[in-house]
Symmetry: C2
Subunit: 222 residues, 2 copies
Amino acid sequence: MTTRVPVVEQILSANDQLAAANRARLDGAGVFTINLMASPGAGKTSLITSTIEALREEFRIGAVDGDLASTLDADRVAALGVPSVQVNTGGTCHLDAAMLQSALPQLPLESLDLLIVENVGNLVCPAAFKLGAHRDVLIASVPEGDDKPYKYPPMYRGVNALVLNKIDVLAAFDFDVAYFRRGVETLNPGLAFFPLSCKTGEGLEAWLDWLRGEVKAYKEHN
Amino acid sequence: MTTRVPVVEQILSANDQLAAANRARLDGAGVFTINLMASPGAGKTSLITSTIEALREEFRIGAVDGDLASTLDADRVAALGVPSVQVNTGGTCHLDAAMLQSALPQLPLESLDLLIVENVGNLVCPAAFKLGAHRDVLIASVPEGDDKPYKYPPMYRGVNALVLNKIDVLAAFDFDVAYFRRGVETLNPGLAFFPLSCKTGEGLEAWLDWLRGEVKAYKEHN
């Protein structure tokens, strides 16, 4: 497999250059951007719609939804009346900076404060491809199990905030929050952590406070 | 991205050759082999341990557990006293045929009837890398949501059987089984389908009957 390594490095380097260009474009427009990553079904779109509903009076929000196929997620976001672009990767297992670059001209960037990018559902590959977002956020979910930090360390190591979704079903699953957090702390000490339920709304306010603070701090310095 | 295509094709072709060699090695030893794929936390290891516990008196079973890191899964299987090999991919998002090739000499193949390979938790990438197994099996789970066939078609299209795990929590999630199955049927008509709960044991017998039949049919003709 050693013959693959130079090719992978070359792709990542090209991706990093495009990610830097995306960041410059976003900063030029003053749009704070988060890259939401998670396993399939952890609740990315649910967190996005909950966040838009809660913050739409405070910030002008747009969304990019990445999926292998379908427009199901973008449809859910577009139904809220915010600018939304679906990126179908055509089978590719992650968004990359080139895909985000292609999506940006389809959004009214100069009229946005916050852009939420939903990556492809995958706990591995998206960690290796920076998009140029200001913050990378991981959504874990209770039904996935408490051992995921131990088994998927690159993703947990690389993010700026961690949401644990579906805490409303904690009782139905054998999920040890302390064990989960010990795994996270080993990989990413002091990581911002937001246990919540998009379904019931429990815990959502702490996540919204964090995001609100991040957007405001960015806008003050940009 | 077009420059990546020839490289990917080259890797897949090399992988297919190694997969064919694995199949020949497995057939030489008479070991029926399944490749279990799923999102992180769908219940691959739980299905494997349930299956081993149920069928260990009928068949001699071994396991290969793929993960980015840790030996948590192999430890769970080894605790049952069956031959088990952990493959740590070191960050790679799937098992490939070369990894299985490296694992096979660590197993007493001539003394096995059934080998269960647990792939890395990922609903995208493993679909592209055949291992040489006789059957590819996907485990979906209720908390992931009923829209996954629509959003991850390559995986659903390529498998020989589909398990839907965690049906014990159907009531707690907004999962429309009919909608899920319509998506599956469009991609993979007539796919063998086993809704079950590893936790309660409900539905497990149908899965075991299918697997039992597959192993017996294989042994009769090999």
